[in-house]
């Protein structure tokens, strides 16, 4: 029975992926890509990875999908979407087929000759878990054992926003999307947004002993922000530019300060003081959640606002 489900999912995933790749219509591609994300979330559940499932649904499918759709809508409004698509050349097709087949064959070969791993890292994780300050293994790995990776990863997120900001010639961003002045939407939002905020906080809190954590919570927060944004309530207009920037950097800064304080306290970088791990991790996660929410929102709004160098006159026509 389980095998059947797995195989069905496998077929579904591959079929959806192929469709999203080869569909003539770009819109369809994007929709199928989002669908793929959702299907994959099911797959992650089957793989025993509910954390990833949450992240995949919220970030992989949700945020990425919204970003793609938004861009698509933007391109479409300018009205040049599918017209200038050349059909790729024949050698390119050949190269593509050749390299992809090579990759698949190599990977299959590798997978079917898997040796037994000499090191069982999960045993080490279980052994060290009591000292980590949290009882959920993934959170322990992300924010304690391998917190350095996470620090850099948050850096990557900040950097993405930074590049977006640097490409904006004007500091005060203007949004091209007028909000939807729909009364029903606003009415529902008053209901939905608090629910999303609560869920987000729940996810954050849950992260210490079960699936959930800063990234999922941040994605949920971002979803709420984006929803608000789309309905015309501009968070960035409410906050001052400086406040916004501070919010974006809050998580990274808190993380960095905690990391540095441990060096000043004579411990290695990122080592939490005895007994303080749980609290510090929660602090970091709280700050991260807010920042990730704002970062993902900013990535959305930055992509949305036109460059104000405005060499092209037609960019403000919507």
């Amino acid at each position: 029975m389980n095998l059947l489900i797995d195989l069905t999912l496998l077929t579904g995933i591959l079929a959806i992926a192929a469709t999203s790749l080869l569909s003539r219509s770009l819109f369809q591609s994007v929709i199928f890509f989002i669908l793929l994300g959702l299907t994959l979330a099911l797959g992650w559940i089957r793989l025993g990875a509910p954390d990833i499932a949450l992240a995949e649904a919220a970030i992989g499918a949700g945020i990425t999908g919204v970003l793609l759709l938004d861009t698509l809508g933007h391109l479409k409004k300018t009205g040049k979407l599918d017209k200038d698509e050349h059909r790729p050349s024949y050698p390119r097709l050949l190269l593509a087929i050749l390299s992809s087949v090579t990759l698949v064959v190599l990977l299959l070969w590798a997978v079917f000759h898997q040796p037994t791993p000499a090191i069982q890292l999960h045993l080490l994780v279980e052994e060290a878990l009591p000292d980590s300050g949290v009882s959920h293994q993934i959170t322990a790995v992300l924010l304690n054992f391998r917190s350095y990776d996470t620090l850099l990863e948050v850096g990557v997120l900040v950097l993405a926003v930074l590049v977006g900001l640097a490409l904006q010639t004007d500091q005060h961003q203007q949004d091209s999307l007028p909000g939807l002045p729909n009364p029903l939407l606003h009415a529902c939002l008053t209901l939905l947004v608090p629910a999303m905020l609560i869920t987000s906080m729940y996810l954050l809190w849950a992260g210490s002993d079960r699936p959930g954590g800063a990234f999922q919570a941040g994605a949920m927060l971002a979803a709420a922000f984006i929803l608000l944004h789309l309905s015309g309530i501009k968070l960035s207009a409410q906050l001052s530019h400086r406040m916004m920037q501070f919010g974006l950097l809050l998580g990274f800064t808190v993380f960095l300060v905690v990391a540095t304080s441990s060096v000043i306290g004579g411990r290695p970088l990122l080592a939490y003081p005895d007994g303080g791990a749980g609290l510090l991790i929660l602090l970091i996660e709280l700050a991260l959640t807010l920042s990730i929410g704002l970062i993902l929102l900013s990535l959305f709004t930055i992509a949305n606002s036109p460059p104000l160098s405005s060499r092209s006159g037609g960019s403000n026509g919507h």
């Binding site: 591959l14 890509f33 593509a96 990234f215």
Partner: protein
């Protein structure tokens, strides 16, 4: 055929499809989708393959995949910002093919 192996194979399939699309397509958005396919495939392989080897649920690799997903979405967002700027300047959704990659 256990679940881990099946999804590892799914990941391989996604990687293959993604690579094909990445090379084949010229449209920048399509290539971005293809890149995300490769990414998703890689994540599936990461977890499936590791858990197949370990024989249990491996939380370390799952944590790494979480990191990977976040990095991938940042990459997508960054690429989209660049693509939209490019579109504003040139009105095109693909790069000129003088000596394309």
């Amino acid at each position: 055929m256990d679940t881990n192996l099946i999804f590892t194979l799914g990941g391989i399939g996604l990687c293959g499809l993604g690579l094909f699309g990445f090379i084949y397509h010229c449209h920048l958005l399509r290539r971005l989708i293809a890149f995300n396919l490769i990414g998703n495939g890689t994540f599936l392989i990461m977890v499936g393959f590791a858990q197949r080897g370990q024989g249990v649920t491996d939380h370390v690799i799952q944590a790494l995949v979480l990191t990977g997903i976040v990095v991938a979405v940042s990459a997508t967002a960054l690429a989209l910002v660049l693509i939209r700027r490019w579109f504003h300047l040139k009105g095109s959704t693909q790069l000129p093919e003088d000596d394309a990659s």
